[in-house]
Symmetry: C2
Subunit: 364 residues, 2 copies
Amino acid sequence: MHISEVETPAIVVDLDIMERNLGRVADYARERGLRLRPHTKTHKSVRLARRQLELGAAGLTVAKTGEAEAMLEAEPEDLLVAFPIVGRAKLERLMAVARRARVTVALDSIEVARPLSDAAQAARVEIGVLAETDVGLGRVGVPPGRPLMALAECIRMLHGLVFEGIAFYPGHIKNLDEAGQRAMGRLSELVGSICATFRSAGIEVKIVSGGSTPTLFHSHEIEGLNEIRPGTYVFNDMNTVRVGACRMEDCAAAILATVISKSVPGQIVIDGGSKTFSSDRLVNSSEESCGYIVEAPGARFHKMNEEHGFVDVTNAGREFEVGDRVRIVPNHICVAMNLHERVYGMRGEHVEEVWKVDARGKVQ
Amino acid sequence: MHISEVETPAIVVDLDIMERNLGRVADYARERGLRLRPHTKTHKSVRLARRQLELGAAGLTVAKTGEAEAMLEAEPEDLLVAFPIVGRAKLERLMAVARRARVTVALDSIEVARPLSDAAQAARVEIGVLAETDVGLGRVGVPPGRPLMALAECIRMLHGLVFEGIAFYPGHIKNLDEAGQRAMGRLSELVGSICATFRSAGIEVKIVSGGSTPTLFHSHEIEGLNEIRPGTYVFNDMNTVRVGACRMEDCAAAILATVISKSVPGQIVIDGGSKTFSSDRLVNSSEESCGYIVEAPGARFHKMNEEHGFVDVTNAGREFEVGDRVRIVPNHICVAMNLHERVYGMRGEHVEEVWKVDARGKVQ
């Protein structure tokens, strides 16, 4: 199938770029001796999870039980659920997953750990646990120091659970400008000192799992860190470009859209809005941009309704007609992916493969 | 099933409120002699579309071909596709729909009308057409006056198409404050004069279809208007409250969520973020609110990541524990609905019915 036959709006992926992205992070992890457990939330696809495993990933990361269920299809040896799982029904589903793959859960409270222990014992499975610590984002995670040690001790005492180490997400580091580099330095010291405290206490910390998109290729600089779980690198997006973690030419995914109206002078309207792109705005920016138009970088995609995208073409440097198609690199590919049923993998202008977004919309 | 057994995050709907909302608009349309063709983009569900038809709706409105396909299940006599359909494959699918229900398309250019005419002739079906006119939003629609008359004339000349009237969306009227009321007055004059122009030209305008959420219950004040196609009224949301089109107690839908962490003092984190609520912000407001927490209106749901909701509970007036559940009225229910597979219809605290979001994610 030629790209002109793909119905719009649709996510199209340049396979050459995607493969380069997959290879780059696999190589980086191998060279630096880091365990790679990629977060599947970006692609939500069994097919791509398999490719990540083939390229040396030690396991997969998911955020939700439903995503864990979907990713079993990729036959990972190991699944990290990087989210505190709460609720009886969810724990039962998670135990069913744990009968088919090794499951590790990142959590930050005894209130989450205890029911997990009960469920593991009832199901006669063993669940790995990472104690989540807050290194600056203020989202989840206990503070380093005594609260973290206490959480670890408590996990170690609970039957059915195996304390495997710690997890953190330095989402407070938005880029690696001067301030960001200083924050990276502090983070490295902090993680180093956490590891030292565990050593003094005689507690083995097998896994130190952390990192984020802006810090990805600097993960090896964080003392003690031995696992990364990046997601966005498969495709990248405008936010990844914006935080300095990739170049424009590393963006593998775009939304293919069609011009459906040009009745307002200086404007075209495309057949995709917040139901196609998500309404996520550009990070680190006050710019009102809903995405980057590959065919006309001077055009400004500045506003969306659910099904309509408003593009100011005053400075587009070209004319558009109804029926013309454009590719738009979205601000945030993970949430855009969640809105689509399938993805068109392109080799040049030809569709080489079409895959399903298997874990799409698995909110529970 | 009791509400405590519903896995979170999930959309829960208070059926009493929903039924009252459905009845109110059905009554309003009947009393004012307005044709009601509700937009199904809000509920995306065959079951609710059927209820709307049972309550007297003359047909259904959709935005996309995929939604039209899904809504055929509700057996409407009449389907309005309120979006210019562009592209060969999409037109073929639309013609298949048109073999099973009367289809009308709203469009604003000859570039859209001509291929539609070709497709209709090839499929030997007749497609109704509404000429879309721009009454102030600047999205789609030709300007009233000569461009609109020219578009109508052109539609009338194309075989396979039947000119049925005009469509507009006064999305520029954000509420009915003093300025909004003046805008309503101007809108009424404008629509009246459009109708008069068609009459002078001897062109019958059977359908004058328009209106929006803020103007819904004032639709009868617009001269010449005889059809409304409201969507949000089924559930309402914080935006509907904000624009003054409903009261808080008319909000039928909420997201049920669970507290999964309280490790940061003064904050709880819930198991839903932009993948559950969408990242749509509150309209007409600079307030950083991601939704209204029913159990603690003083709590401030101010930030989201994909799977995490950050709630400041400093002024919540109550304590929360991990595992506690809250109901949150979202800013924009239509886009939230699009993120969920199913909906739990509640009678008090009991789940009376569970329905599928049939047209979820039909972007094409």
